[in-house]
């Protein structure tokens, strides 16, 4: 045990030192590893590249002997596959035949009918050739029957006999069948496959030359028919072959033929990968990629996930390469198929160690130095890494003792791979990891730590960070996670969804691209030889030097000096078997004057005829043999020099051999028509191409019109809010069902609603009259009415009629529960109520704020009935018009109201003339958390009300200046006062976190985690700290989130405080005007907007400005951030959407006058804006108007002044004295 412990300690210490080393000198170590990788991979250069193309080896034909099986010493350049006899010797007889001279009485069929007919006599000759009692039968490769799947070819390909292939096979090698065949072309083409084919076709197979070179066509201009007779010999008898060659040459001499006859080409074929092998291979690779994906997905908490994943994959791959390289270096040649064992090797070596390392390093304390972190992480995992490696080595060693050669080799590779993988992990990956960790921004780390607001966080990231490490040099907005935009939440028509999907993923382009690449790959892969020869032929034909490039031609030309174009015709009427003295240059010369209609066919032999098979697909031989179940994989064939045969037929013979039906083709016979035909084809193709182009352009245009919104991306898109009545429809003419969203109207306030607050369950609103109402955010029921201190005017709705209920200490308005159709009840009575209601304000002077809290907890009972009735009577007698305008004149820019609070001398005029003396104070700010409503009054008093019971729970009068803004977070309340001071209060409950008393309807009690207070608790509110001079000028905005309190003031600065100890962290300066809007959320994103129209994004952790844009003419009135963008609205009634990371304006939406400030974000892609009596939903990703919802009947003409988005995707709008609750059903579904 002690040994083990000591070992463990030693290993751990070694790893620690190693980690320090790696993190200290990253660049030299990475260079060192790269050099060692390259060194180890150097031997790989000697290995042949993988591929399935055949390999050739040429020997002399004269002194040929069958290579022995045993490799000899003096191999020279002889390849290692050249052992043992080949599968077959291939003897090809290349026949070129032409009818000459050509005269006008001949029909096109004559071009090939009689030349093809001669194949039978040739075949006869070859079959019957005997040389010293050896005939072809004894030497040729005997084949048995075809594969069972090839029954349809049974009549064509030879069976049970010599493998001898020629065009005669089409007619079962029978002359009579050929003669009676009315349509040769049809016979030839009936076996051609339809569509695209990649391997050798039957025509190629039988003719032995590529299809376009055969000359078997009605429109062939050269009128030379070329085909081969292919004989497969099982054993090589040089004398027999020589005698056959001599015989054929004697019969059909080709005078100008200078084909070389002394070379034998051996072609070795690699292993064929059929589909049967390909599918498992592909499967293993898919599994491999899935493995890599699932492994690297676990890398987390690093700067760049992709970079590390790439490093991990590189580690494994280069360790494999190293292992192969090392094995080759030490003389072990890999015999296994590399492609197929590669995935298994990767899987055996694995990525686990890399992941373990990453995890361990990442989990070290973040405040350590990077070096120490790496070292600690390494040393803590060292033991397990070593143990795992030892285990794997042992397993592989066991595999080595299975004594199966393949497994042994695999194990050897795996062992070397494991060791080199370990080496690379230790040096390469660790260093990369250290670089990554160093790069990782502090902010990144902090963002991932759960931002616990208010809770005292033990690690204390805030003050530590900036001190121990310098602020990150690049001010990139990395704090922003750019997530893929969430899918649209509102219901869309299917076609649009499809279109959006296509557009987002660029599916069509990608598919086309991939298809093109695959197609090109197939093209290049299947027929490289053909493509190459074709290109070479093209080049040699077109270049004027083409003939100079072909040496045989030059050699031939001087021999026949008479062979000039003029003499050609004179030699033409030669007897049939005699040779025609002609050469290459004649052929060219005759065909070049294209106007001559009667050019005689010229037979020429060039170097390209030497090895005809090269022009065929390289699958030609494998497919020919595979028909007989003979594989050429890993074996070779020897191709003997071709025997050239030239046939000249005179026209008489051709006419004699005609089939009666052949003359039907006569009208098309002349060369002119063929010329015309080609011209016509050209015109047709051109016309077709033009037509296709026009159609394509039209199609694209239509697609563009359909898909692209016209105003996409333009500044100030004028979507034009629709009037009531016409259907709201978007750009595409689709009008979403209006019935989907129905607003719920909350009425009850008698004056304009001043403050709104919500915690998702409850909704508190306060009107200018000082009345606070609490609503259920789900049903829209009015739960509580808290009257103003001096007022008892809670009675604009049902509460007035039920003052008995009020008297009997039930503060909630009971009838509101029981009668859901609130509107119906309220609407008729409303106008009259407002018209002739008495002003009760002077009557009631009971100040609840002055009541001791102990009294309020017990309850209060005042009988206001008498007083109010008296007031009513007075009112009826002399109607005083205090409230002539229930909806006060609409201010053109309502958002200014909040800000105007900041101007100390100018108090809101309406407030002042409503409450000259007896009005105690008005509520200037409101917050709601749990069951508690915090209300800040103009008198500087902070009140805490129970939202359900409507009782005053606590009151604090420490300050005297009016509370302009409140923030209520957990158990802390921050109040900003008019004189620029900031007060921090702590709410103490003597019974901690009592049971839920009222949390909405049952079943939905799981929403926010804000504290709740039961009615029995005694709640006290203490001023913990007061920052007297937080700002020089009044505080206009106060926001709190993520443990931070951010204030914005008229003095052009933003300050960031920490909530728990009210310590000022930063003063952010950057605006040139007063701050008018601030946004901060749980992810510590801070955005501020000022009177100068500028929007700044700040890094809360470092206090640095991330970006700064000027967006609006005039004040920025509100700001909201989502994951990817910042939305701002200004006094210029423009809503701008900015990209958060780049600060580029994506687009803007022009709002109606006065509606600019109300906006909210429901989800990442849904924006709500308010308008004249309606709210509109916008798709944030595309800037499209999705839907407009009209709120109520009589709300036309009123602005939505405030808009509050609740957690459960309800939207509360405030216009005038009414609230409107709008649910977005699809969003609700998603959130639930």
């Amino acid at each position: 045990m002690t040994v083990r412990e000591r070992l463990r300690q030693n290993i751990s210490a070694a790893f620690y030192r190693h980690g320090l080393l790696c993190a200290s000198y990253p660049v030299p170590i990475i260079l060192f590893t790269s050099v060692s990788i390259l060194t180890c991979c150097y031997p790989l250069l000697k290995l042949p590249l993988p591929g399935t193309g055949p390999v050739e080896f040429t020997t002399g034909a004269k002194d040929y002997s069958v290579p022995s099986h045993e490799p000899q010493g003096d191999l020279g350049e002889r390849p290692d596959w050249y052992q043992g006899p080949p599968v077959a010797y291939i003897q090809q007889v290349l026949v070129k035949a032409a009818v000459s001279p050509w005269d006008s009485s001949l029909v096109p069929v004559d071009v090939f009918r009689s030349p093809l007919g001669r194949v039978f006599s040739l075949l006869e000759e070859i079959r019957n050739h005997v040389y010293t009692d050896r005939s072809l039968e004894t030497l040729c490769l005997q084949v048995t029957e075809l594969l069972p799947g090839l029954r349809r070819m049974q009549s064509i390909l030879p069976e049970h006999g010599c493998l001898l292939v020629s065009p005669g096979n089409y007619w079962q090698n029978r002359r009579d069948l050929f003669d009676s065949d009315p349509d040769i072309l049809k016979t030839v083409h009936q076996h051609e496959p339809k569509g695209i084919h990649t391997s050798a076709t039957l025509k190629d197979l039988l003719f032995g030359v590529p299809g376009k070179n055969t000359g078997v066509s009605l429109y062939s201009r050269k009128r030379v028919v070329t085909y081969t007779i292919t004989i497969a010999l099982s054993s090589y008898d040089a004398r027999f072959v020589a005698s056959l060659r001599a015989r054929l040459k004697q019969l059909h001499p080709s005078v100008n033929c200078t084909l070389r006859e002394d070379h034998m080409v051996h072609v070795h074929f690699k292993e064929e990968i059929g589909i049967a092998e390909l599918i498992p291979l592909v499967t293993t690779y898919i599994i491999l990629f899935a493995y890599i994906y699932f492994s690297t997905r676990k890398i987390d908490m690093v700067k760049s996930k992709w970079g590390l994943a790439l490093a991990a994959v590189v580690t494994v791959l280069s360790s494999l390469l190293m292992s192969v390289g090392l094995c080759t270096l030490f003389g072990l040649t890999p015999t296994l198929n590399g492609g197929s064992i590669f995935p298994y090797l990767v899987v055996v070596i694995g990525l686990e160690n890399v992941l373990v390392l990453t995890k361990s390093v990442v989990s070290t304390p973040v405040d350590l130095e990077v070096k120490l972190r790496i070292a600690q992480g390494l040393s803590s995992e060292s033991w397990s890494i070593m143990k795992n490696m030892a285990t794997e080595l042992v397993i592989i060693l066991i595999g080595y003792f299975t004594l199966v050669p393949a497994i042994q080799e695999f194990c050897l590779f795996a062992v070397v791979g494991l060791v080199s993988d370990f080496f690379l992990q230790m040096f390469f990956f660790t260093t990369v990891l250290s670089i990554d960790i160093r790069r990782m921004e502090l902010a990144d780390l902090n963002r991932r730590l759960p931002a616990e607001a208010g809770m005292p966080p033990p690690p204390k990231p805030g003050p530590l960070r900036p001190r121990e490490a310098p602020p990150p040099p690049r001010p990139s907005p990395h704090t922003i996670t750019l997530q893929a935009p969430a899918f649209r939440n509102l219901r869309l028509p299917k076609r649009l969804r499809v279109v959006y999907f296509l557009a987002r993923t660029r599916l069509a382009q990608r598919i086309i691209m991939v298809g093109t690449v695959i197609w090109i790959g197939i093209l290049v892969y299947t027929d490289p030889a053909g493509l190459r020869t074709y290109l070479a032929a093209q080049v040699s034909e077109q270049s004027p030097l083409g003939e100079a490039g072909l040496p045989p031609h030059l050699g031939v030309a001087p021999v026949f000096p008479g062979g000039d174009p003029t003499s050609t015709l004179s030699v033409l009427p030669a007897p049939e078997p005699t040779p025609l003295p002609e050469n290459q240059s004649q052929g060219h010369g005759a065909s070049r004057p294209g106007g001559a209609p009667l050019t005689s066919p010229q037979i020429s032999w060039g170097s390209e005829d030497e090895e005809v098979w090269r022009r065929l697909s390289f699958r030609y031989w494998p497919s020919l043999f595979s028909y007989y179940n003979i594989t050429l994989a890993k074996r070779y064939i020897s191709i003997l020099p071709v025997i050239p045969v030239t046939l000249h037929l005179n026209p008489q013979e051709a006419i004699e051999m005609r089939h009666p039906q052949d003359t039907q083709h006569a009208p098309r016979s002349s060369a002119k028509t063929t010329d015309l035909q080609t011209d016509l084809t050209l015109y047709k193709v051109a016309a077709l191409g033009l037509f296709a182009g026009v159609v394509l352009v039209l199609l694209l245009f239509c697609l563009y019109r359909v898909l692209c919104p016209r105003n996409y991306g333009q500044n100030g898109v004028q979507h034009g809010r629709r009037r009531r009545g016409d259907l709201p429809c978007d750009e595409y003419g689709y009008s979403p069902p209006v019935s989907e969203i129905s607003p719920l109207l909350l009425r009850g306030h008698s004056m304009d609603i001043e403050c709104l607050a919500s915690d998702g369950m409850l909704l508190a609103s306060c009107c200018l009259a000082g009345q606070i109402r609490v609503w259920d955010a789900q049903t829209g029921d009015c739960l509580t009415v808290i009257p103003n201190n001096g007022l008892r005017r809670s009675s604009s709705s049902g509460c007035w009629e039920h003052r008995d209920g009020w008297d009997s200490l039930t503060p909630t308005c009971e009838p509101d529960y029981n009668e859901p159709p609130l509107r119906r009840r309220v609407t008729p009575s409303r106008p009259t109520l407002f018209g002739d209601q008495p002003d009760l304000t002077p009557l009631i002077d009971t100040n609840f704020g002055e009541l001791p809290p102990s009294h309020t907890t017990v309850g209060f009972g005042f009988d206001f009935g008498g007083l109010v009735e008296k007031a009513y009577k007075e009112h009826e007698a002399s109607p005083t018009m205090h409230f002539t305008a229930p909806t006060p004149p609409v201010t053109p820019a309502p958002p200014q109201r909040r800000r105007s609070l900041g101007d100390p001398p100018v108090a809101p005029p309406e407030r002042i003339n409503v409450s000259p003396g007896e009005w105690d104070s008005s509520v200037w700010s409101l917050e709601l958390r749990g069951n508690l409503i915090a209300a800040g009054r103009s008198s500087g008093k902070l009140e805490l009300w129970d939202a359900v019971e409507g009782t005053l729970r606590c009151c604090n009068e420490d300050g005297s200046s009016g509370i302009t803004a409140l923030a209520f977070l957990n158990n802390r309340i921050v109040a900003a006062r008019l004189n620029g001071s900031l007060d921090f209060f702590t709410v103490d409950i003597n019974k901690p976190l009592g049971l839920l008393q009222y949390r909405g309807p049952p079943g939905r009690a799981s929403l926010p985690s804000s504290p709740c207070y039961s009615s029995e608790d005694v709640i006290s509110c203490q001023l913990t700290r007061s920052v007297q001079c937080a700002h020089q000028k009044p505080i206009t905005v106060l926001r709190a989130a993520a443990g931070r309190v951010v204030t914005g003031s008229q003095d052009h600065t933003v300050r960031v405080y920490r909530l728990e100890d009210s310590c000022c962290l930063f003063t952010l300066q950057g605006h040139s005007g007063g701050i008018t809007a601030i946004y901060i959320d749980q992810t510590m994103v801070l955005a501020s907007g000022g009177q100068d129209g500028a929007i700044c994004l700040w890094d809360v952790l470092t206090g640095s400005r991330v970006s700064h844009v000027y967006g609006h003419r005039g004040d920025v009135t509100s700001l909201v951030c989502t994951n990817s963008c910042v939305i701002s609205s200004g006094l210029d009634d423009l809503i701008c959407i900015w990209d958060r990371s780049t600060g580029i304006k994506l687009y803007s939406i022009q709002q109606e006058v006065g509606c600019g400030s109300s906006l909210g974000v429901i989800s990442d892609s849904l924006l709500v804006t308010g308008g004249h009596g309606c709210v509109s939903f916008w798709d944030l990703n595309y800037g499209d108007l999705l839907q407009t919802v009209y709120l109520g009947q009589n709300s036309e003409g009123q602005h939505v002044r405030q808009l509050l988005v609740l957690d459960n995707a309800a939207i509360v709008c405030d216009f005038g004295s009414e609230l409107s609750l709008v649910y977005v059903p699809s969003v609700l579904e998603k959130l639930d």
């Binding site: 064929e272 059929g274 499967t283 899935a290 676990k298 299975t402």
Partner: protein, 247 residues
């Protein structure tokens, strides 16, 4: 383990499942483990309320089984014949269309049986429960098949010993649980037994005449296949159990 088997066999619905569920010409392993699994599936589904999740897992496992069966079948085709694609597809579709189907069924059953057994024994499988490990396991399984199909061994003894060692290594690397071992062994034994029965009755024939060599590697393949499918099944079960939490 035996108790569970007894319970499975005593279940009343087993004969019905057996008679109607599978074609008579069903390969041994599939049929046997399918029957056992169907019964236990019935038992499990009676006890469980998450039948939807069960069905989903079953479908996934079935697809995996079918796919693996096709791939491994292609792997077994001797390579010295260059076949045309249509030939391969023809043989795949014509002669033994039911093999992939029954393999899929068996995979579904075994894969559902593993987590079920785990929960019954009360020892949840905690070892290397992640998708990367599952992928590794599948790759090793395919590798074992590859080895058995493509490598040349000196004799059958060597072949079966090597394969047995590989299968045990697979189990030890990715499973290491008693229940997994037991279930894999049972699957392998039953499957081999019924395969042999079917072969002797002439219902199914091996393509190669040397039945003996086939017999030597068949149990190892079945064992490792069972362990692999069980691994997938456990991971699936864990994933579906985890999902509500993450939401």
């Amino acid at each position: 383990m035996p108790q569970l088997e007894d319970r499975c066999w005593s279940c009343s619905c087993s004969p019905g499942m057996k008679s109607k569920g599978f074609p008579p010409a069903s390969r041994a392993r599939e049929a046997m483990s399918a029957v056992a699994g169907a019964v236990s599936q019935a038992v499990c589904s009676l006890r469980r309320l998450h039948s939807a999740g069960l069905v989903r897992r079953g479908v996934v496992l079935f697809a995996v089984g079918v796919f693996l069966a096709l791939v491994l079948y292609l792997l077994q085709i001797k390579r010295n014949v260059v076949l045309f694609p249509e030939e391969v597809l023809d043989t795949l579709l014509s002669s033994s269309w039911w093999i992939p189907l029954s393999c899929g069924t068996a995979a579904a059953v075994v894969g559902l049986l593993y987590p079920c057994l785990d929960s019954h024994l009360g020892e949840p499988h905690k070892f290397k429960r992640e998708w990367a490990s599952v992928m590794r396991c599948i790759a090793v399984f395919v590798g074992i098949n590859h080895a058995s199909a493509k490598l040349d061994f000196a004799n059958n003894m060597q072949l079966s010993l090597t394969l047995a060692a590989l299968s045990l290594g697979l189990w030890w690397t990715f499973d290491r649980s008693r229940s997994g071992f037991g279930l894999g062994l049972t699957t392998a034994l039953l499957a081999t037994l019924i395969a042999q029965l079917l072969v002797y009755n002439g219902i199914y024939q091996y393509t190669s005449p040397e039945v003996r060599s086939v017999r030597s590697w068949l149990p190892c393949i079945f064992f490792s296949g069972g362990v692999t499918v069980g691994n997938i099944g456990r991971q699936l079960a864990m994933g579906s159990a985890e999902k509500p939490h993450s939401d």
